[in-house]
Subunit: 120 residues, 2 copies
């Protein structure tokens, strides 16, 4: 995505990971996929309504990076399955940390009503 700092001050893997995770939808995708594998449109919905263009692109990236595995189950009534690879699954720690934090500090959302929350 951007590659310009690297020459500067010795850059560490954490920086790159952050770059990766902050890309739009990535964390949502990981979170959804941690719960269960999903199909394409299904994933789009689970993630909160990402549009297909971006989703396809992001999934391709994640697959390329080896975080996500794509399995085509049948060609003509199209059926695909996206799931996390080992590296991807190991991100559960990150999601869990966010989860924990969210429950303690979530200014904007606390005011609203959050009763059901176990949805999808």
């Amino acid at each position: 995505m951007n590659a310009k700092v690297e020459a500067n001050h010795t850059y560490c893997p954490v920086y790159d990971s952050i770059e990766l995770l902050q890309a739009k939808w990535v964390l949502h995708i990981v979170r959804a996929l941690l719960k269960a594998p999903h199909g394409f449109n299904e994933l789009g919905r689970a993630v909160g309504g990402a549009n297909t263009t971006t989703l396809a692109q992001r999934l391709e990236q994640l697959e390329h990076l080896g975080l996500v595995t794509k399995t085509v189950e049948s060609t003509m009534p199209p059926k695909t399955r996206y799931e996390l690879s080992e590296a991807g699954r190991e991100l559960h720690g990150v999601i869990a940390a966010i989860d924990t934090w969210a429950q303690r500090f979530m200014p904007a959302c606390q005011a609203h009503g959050a009763e059901v929350e176990r949805a999808s």
Copy 2:
């Protein structure tokens, strides 16, 4: 930023947190600020070269959300200090998780050399 899903399926705080954290530079800012408070330009550099416009905007958001505190120390030889509030500091768990993950799985970066890494 975007507010369109909310009417749909009861949305949880985690979703919002992810939205928050995936905004460009936010995680970098938090990471930098976890190590120490920074001035504006200083922070821009620590973060890996965010441009001033975006940085100012992001900091304003974070301040508004109560994650970051801005202290103006002197007006005319301009001196500002940005530091994390409690909620912000508690994000160290998230950063730590990313840190751990990064050291185990960082495809693109592992190939490179990463000796010094304590920079800045």
